[in-house]
Amino acid sequence: MTFTLDPAVPAGPLEMKWTRYRADMRLVAPANRRKYRIVVVGSGLAGASAAASFAELGYQVSCFCFQDSPRRAHSIAAQGGINAAKNYPNDGDSVFRLFYDTVKGGDFRAREANVYRLAELSVNIIDQCVAQGVPFAREYGGLLANRSFGGVQVARTFYARGQTGQQLLLGAYQALERQIGLGQVAMYTRHEMLELVVVDGRARGIVVRDLVTGQVTGHVADVVVLATGGYSNVYYLSTNAKGCNVTAIWRAHKRGAAFANPCFSQIHPTCIPPSGDHQSKLTLMSESLRNDGRIWVPRRPGDERVPGSIPDAERDYYLERRYPSYGNLVPRDLASRRAKEVCDEGCGVGPGGHGVYLDFRDAIARLGRQTIAERYGNLFEMYQRITGENPYDVPMRIYPAPHYTMGGLWVDYNLMSTIPGLFVAGEANFSDHGANRLGASALMQGLADGYFILPNAIGNYLGGTKLEAVAPEAAEFGDARHAAAERTERLLAGRGHKSVDAFHRELGRLMWDACGMSRSREQLRQAMERLPALRREFWDTVYVGGTETDLNQNLEHAGRVADFLEFAELMCRDALEREESCGCHFREEFQTESGEAKRNDERFSYVAAWEYTGADCPAALHKEPLRYEAVRPTERSYT
């Protein structure tokens, strides 16, 4: 299998590329669109907005999600907001500035042309969402309100209380449901994609399992869109929903789609720490808390006194000590790494020592309890609901948690993968966030991909491609159905003793230690040695139970964990090969004297795109060089 990594970026100056693209692209006439069927997998921001927009154009659409309703996709949990270069506050924002902040935030590991287009489209997204009735926050005069978010100097974030993701998703969901009602979209809920079907080198459909009946069926398409989210659950504990998984993009990878930058995963610094072995997921607390809370740990390792009885002299306010100018407001990656360090040194607090204090004592003394309640009341309430502790009286305990994955399937400027006809959108692709994503940018990217980029890109593809008819009886579909069914059988045949969850937890711990916030050659090598053995153990000793012709949630989980066990090795390999520190990827061997990330542009200014070469064969590395024409990569410093 060979492929070329042609990013297909249009010629011309940066600010003219998208305009030119649309001027030059091929079109499908309205009367011909109904002859094409598009399969969309996933119904989050990217999937739902794409499916609805295709249907509005007149294409026949089939949309699949594993949840019981498309409205439950994990985009719904995004809290903070969505960025757009509207410059309503008159504070100097522009498309270029949003583009620059995003490229810099990604530590210069994203493709310039894609990011610029994202910034351009940001303004259209807000228009579209307002027209759909998304209840964004307003000023008293009725105009839209903005707030500022981490890592930038302008206020460009639009928000709907702390539920921006929910409201944006409901806008896209309602547009999608309208098209389902009109018969333009066939919606398949409680269906999971198990295979991608490639015919004559092009993506021509998928094989899915009906999670209620267990039936495995093939769906023929002219174009397949994967909008299936990220893979933070490789760490078991993350802020992702329980169902989030790598399966769809991993299966596509095994059919020929290159996987780009799998090691770029973001760990969010302010989450509620795990309370015990039963912990099933982690909950994010808005990082705005760092504006008034002071982060500290006891100076003495193993100090078990209650926080209130530890005098100031025996506390280590480690962020304020190390970063006097930024203090508690250093970027996400630094705050996370430093927390892990002090906990590794034995100074962590709470169960298992996995936590640091976020203390509002001084802010309450300075501003009064009332002011703090006004600013953070709902967050304090959420914290108390989960931990049973009152943060007005005792400091919060926080710990970093996996949150977002910048890596994903490699796509060109069309958002098309290395398999023609397979498009990838939202968190599932790699394209816009480089090595680190800025706050309020994920929602923007998902909707830009779904509402505005894919409807153009797919017309361009179909308009320029002659596709032969494919029948669901074709051998390729039979093979894929067979492969999926065989795998299920194998999972159910096991009469072992260890549960799927036990394997998932073990994998999570392994990846957290070796390929989490901080990575080293030795740890990565050890993990890569352990993973094949863990995979064998899984297939030899796992007990799944139940039947395949029935709702079997443990079987669903088993299939996903089996894929994570394969994928994890590629993630470690990518982290091992990238001998530099950049963004969220911190290699212990590559740091400055003060312990900061040391990027190596000379050797690593590229996208690592991995090609699958067979089971237990090392993946082949292809490189897409990153060329910066509009910006000059600079070093990040926060001391």
């Binding site: 309703s69 439950r72 307002v130 009735g133 409201q167 389902i180 329980k242 309370s275």
Partner: protein, 258 residues
Amino acid sequence: MRLTLHVWRQPRGSAAGRFVRYEVPDATSDMSFLELLDVLNEQLLARHEEPVAFDSDCREGICGACGVVINGEPHGPQTGTATCQLHLRHFPDGAELWVEPWRARGFPVVKDLVIDRAAFDRIIQAGGFITARTGSAPEANTTLVPKRDAETAMDAAECIACGACVAACPNASAMLFVAAKASHLGQLPQGQPERYSRTIAMVRQMEREGFGSCTNHAECTAACPKEISIDFIARLNRDFLTAVRQGAAAPRVEEAEL
């Protein structure tokens, strides 16, 4: 802590169900209720017994996937809390808990505690949207929305469609769900052109799905994890009355059926 659970087990929708008693001796007060079910399922798997099927996804109270009736109360005893955010510290050690699915004609049981809520999606299909094709939107700030209206719309829009309102209602009415969506969209200037046809279409679809009508018990509001106000049902009734008086055009989907 030690808990005794009586869990509704039903192999499939067409089969008969029954309560099965389980002991969980090693629960802790920091666990969420769903984590308690996880622990129970691990026990069952260790004995090669079939685990309890239940829906959940985000486990932070926003996706709306989870929800079981605990001792007769949808989402359990803690107000304004979805099942995934309910922690065991709200139960005494040794408590005996009866766990069952939402029960309503409109929500058939799929298996154990899993139900089919597709009826809610069909209500949205009937009219729970603003028609705004991608690409045709005007500049966002040309639509002014008074802050108070935006806040009211948001109060309604917070609904997570879990269905607890239906489970709590003696009539198994979906009025709070329908009212929340109708009020969210009907409160905004963008939602005005379709306001009355939307109301008629959603209410008619709700009736077709087998949900009952509202007789003001207000159990829905009490059970709602987002504490959506029953005031929105009054708004829905008012809009419905206006729609009927005006002879609001029968909506598109209904026309197709006639």
